[in-house]
């Protein structure tokens, strides 16, 4: 762009050149330049920064949609994995990128809605335009098959009878908050046992060391195999892929939590660009490839863009604000 103007100005007289430049500056200042830029967008490859290491659920679903997305936008899509701090490193990095739509963030929505509330973060909800939600994890609480209970009420009854605290495998702030809230509501203590990753949760449950664990989908195969029992879904409504499992709403709680796979652009990205990305994302998410990936990895790949996505993010934030307030900072 800049080079273009420079070469043009060289052929003009100095005064004319300064007029052209001033005019351009004025046009840019008045915001006329932005739509022109948005209309041409994209003119180069787009980078999607995935906030987790390669191979995870977020990474796989993004990699599955890049082909269709690139085709619709007419530019190649590059995927870059920047793991760390539960998505915090990538979010910090993308928030600082120029708001031109060429660098996007693919992450787990909790790293945007919840993380700034419970840890020191260099970004917040407002640091991003929320482009779209491309799917959701099927979060649920589960327990080992040898435990005597198979519901939340049974668990509460058991620990009350044995006069002890609930011990739960905890891998993230989100499961800790929910269990602490539930424990508080039902008048018992909750002790988190830290584990690393979904497989850590599964292992702790299967060795019988904890009463309950939380995961985003790794519970499904072992429940199917009879090595574990699903207790309840962490979401407010029932899970799309496990409609028989009771949810937070069924248990009488006023909210539930769902971890979404979401796509964000730095704040200030022109709305036309955001719309363009969202419009190209919808067919990409609905492509056979992404839907197959969702099915195999036990994720509900349902596209929500524009205002719907922003609304989901806002609601999620409100839930976490209430949760953190009720439970208190740990």
């Amino acid at each position: 762009m800049r080079q273009h103007y420079q070469s043009k100005s060289r052929r003009l007289t100095r005064r004319a050149a300064s007029t052209v430049l001033a005019g351009t500056a004025l046009a840019l200042a008045a915001g006329i330049g932005a739509p022109a830029m948005a209309a041409e967008w994209p003119t180069k490859a787009i980078t999607i920064v995935v906030a987790y290491p390669a191979g995870g659920g977020t990474d796989i679903s993004i990699r599955a949609l890049t082909d269709t997305l690139g085709e619709k936008l007419g530019q190649p899509i590059l995927v870059q994995n920047v793991g760390g701090a539960g998505g915090g490193v990538a979010a910090t990095k993308v928030a600082k990128e120029p708001a031109d739509g060429y660098t996007l963030l693919a992450t787990n929505s909790t790293s945007i809605t919840l993380a700034p509330l419970v840890q020191k973060a260099l970004y917040d909800m407002d640091s991003f335009e929320h482009v779209a939600i491309i799917g959701e994890f099927q979060n649920a609480f589960f327990t080992g098959s040898k435990q005597p209970y198979d519901s939340l009420d049974g668990l509460i009854k058991t620990v009350k009878a044995e006069n002890r605290a609930i011990k739960g495998a905890s891998q993230l702030a989100i499961d800790r908050l929910v269990m602490q809230f539930i424990a508080k509501e039902r008048g018992v203590e909750f002790v988190p046992v830290p584990v690393s990753g979904g497989s850590g949760s599964v292992q702790a449950v299967m060795s019988g060391d904890v009463d309950v664990a939380f995961s985003g989908g790794s519970w499904a195969p072992i429940v199917k195999a009879g090595d574990a029992k699903a207790l309840f879904a962490a979401s407010y409504e029932r899970l799309k892929l496990a409609p028989d499992l009771v949810s937070m709403k069924d248990l009488g709680f006023p909210f539930g939590v769902t971890a979404h796979i979401s796509l964000h652009a730095p704040a200030g990205t022109p709305p036309e660009v955001v719309k363009k990305i969202a419009a190209a994302l919808e067919p990409a998410v609905n492509s056979e490839m992404v839907q197959t990936v969702g099915q195999k990895r036990f994720m509900d790949m349902t596209y929500r863009g524009g205002d719907a996505a922003a609304a989901v993010m806002k609601k999620e934030r409100e839930t976490y604000v209430t949760l953190v307030k009720t439970v208190g900072m740990n």
Binding site: D59, A64, S199, M206, P221, K224, K296
Partner: protein, 510 residues
Amino acid sequence: MIEYVSIAAGEIFTPSVIGYIILGVLIGYIVGALPGMNRTTAIALAIPFTFTMPPAAALSFLIGINKGGAAGAAVSAILLNVPGEPSAVVTTYDGYPMTRQGKARKALTIALLASVAGDLLATVTLILLAQPVARFAIGLGPIELASILIFSITFIAAVSGDSFFKALIAGILGLLLSAPGIDIETGLPRMTFGMLELYDGIPLLAVAIGTLALSEILVQIDEGWHGDHRYPQIADERTKNADSGFRLPDVARITPAVLRGSLVGTLVGILPGLGATLASFLAYTWVRQSSKTPEAFGKGAPEGVAASESADNATVPAALIPVFAIGVPGSLSTALLMGAFMMHGLTPGPFLFKESGAVVFAIYLGMLLASAALLLVGLFGQRIFSMVIQIRKSVLLPVIVFLCIVGAYMEGGGMFGVYLMLVFGFVGYFMKKFDYSFVTFVVGYVLGPMAELTIRQSLIISDSNPAVLIDHPIAVVFLVLAALSIWRFAIAGARSMQIAPAPASDGGDR
């Protein structure tokens, strides 16, 4: 059963599938041999390419990468004293001295045979015993794992060699490196100095590339290399050295070490989170301790190479045992493979065999074939790779430095990883100069996070009440072993101090 085998054979023994397996092993071998490149990353990047392959071919391909990577890492460890991956660090102990003695080809052959043997034995264990072994392993909770890790940490003292306290200092420094990060219990950042990059702890692979690879480059530059290619070459295997080639009697010599290494590798591989670095370290220590000539270790003992390499490779199939049998991955690379299973409609776990018996058999066959491919690729590859020691160092070293930077960038979260790698390159350089064991340093920081996690888990689960040990006999056994090993190594260490020139101060009442 028989019909499964014939279906599976029909699926695997096609030119394209065999081609995929060989390609997988080859990719893994090259990635493993290149310092800075990591096989876990190679698998993650290869997964999208397997979407369209048939399931058995895709999984054999990915497992092949893993197997090749474990074996390939030995090549650069032996030839250049630069382990391709942290798990090959122990291989440098005896592999590189062998190269300096002009026995590079022999060391490479031993490493390859040990790798293939360890790999094969663990694969057979997987095929025959997956279910019972995995059931047993999953019953081992944090309390057992914590005691195994405590026992392993005491082994740091065992490899100390001549400088007991320096090795201990290096090991403890390594452990301390795992301190920064989010505190697992409170969720609050600890020693991160406000740096977001440190929230997940110090990126260990970037540190490993620095301390293991870059530091060695600095040492080699320092060792009298001044850009002059006439600098005396390390005697290569063409010089008619009496003991330079691999001969039949060598097989008998390394067999006990290979068997021990395979056993340790299989056991460590099955347990979640312990990993190949610990396996090769424990195997090496065990073989050295039980050897009649422990003083030969570290100076080019073939048994040392065999122990470390067989253990390293045995962890690859062994880590798949819990995945196949109960659907629980124990490490990042097996979690990736489990993801790949699910991508292809296979749900790992007890039903895997009932639901897709033919495919499982095909994967088993593919894994065995990958072992054979490993032998092939290794025999061919080491001929090519062993030429690198004849490359002028002014060409070779910059290439390795470049690979180190790329690797640190990929593994350490961008430029932060590169800076960290550079810093630890110099740390490693001075450790080598002052004879602080960098192996105990590496083992310390590999074990640190895992030990902290399991010990704190155990304390929470048991309400800090030691009475809980009564219900965990396996944990008691390992804790007693740990106490014995501390006692034994402490005495050995104290003795080594007496032999050493007496220190200026005798301690006094400090």
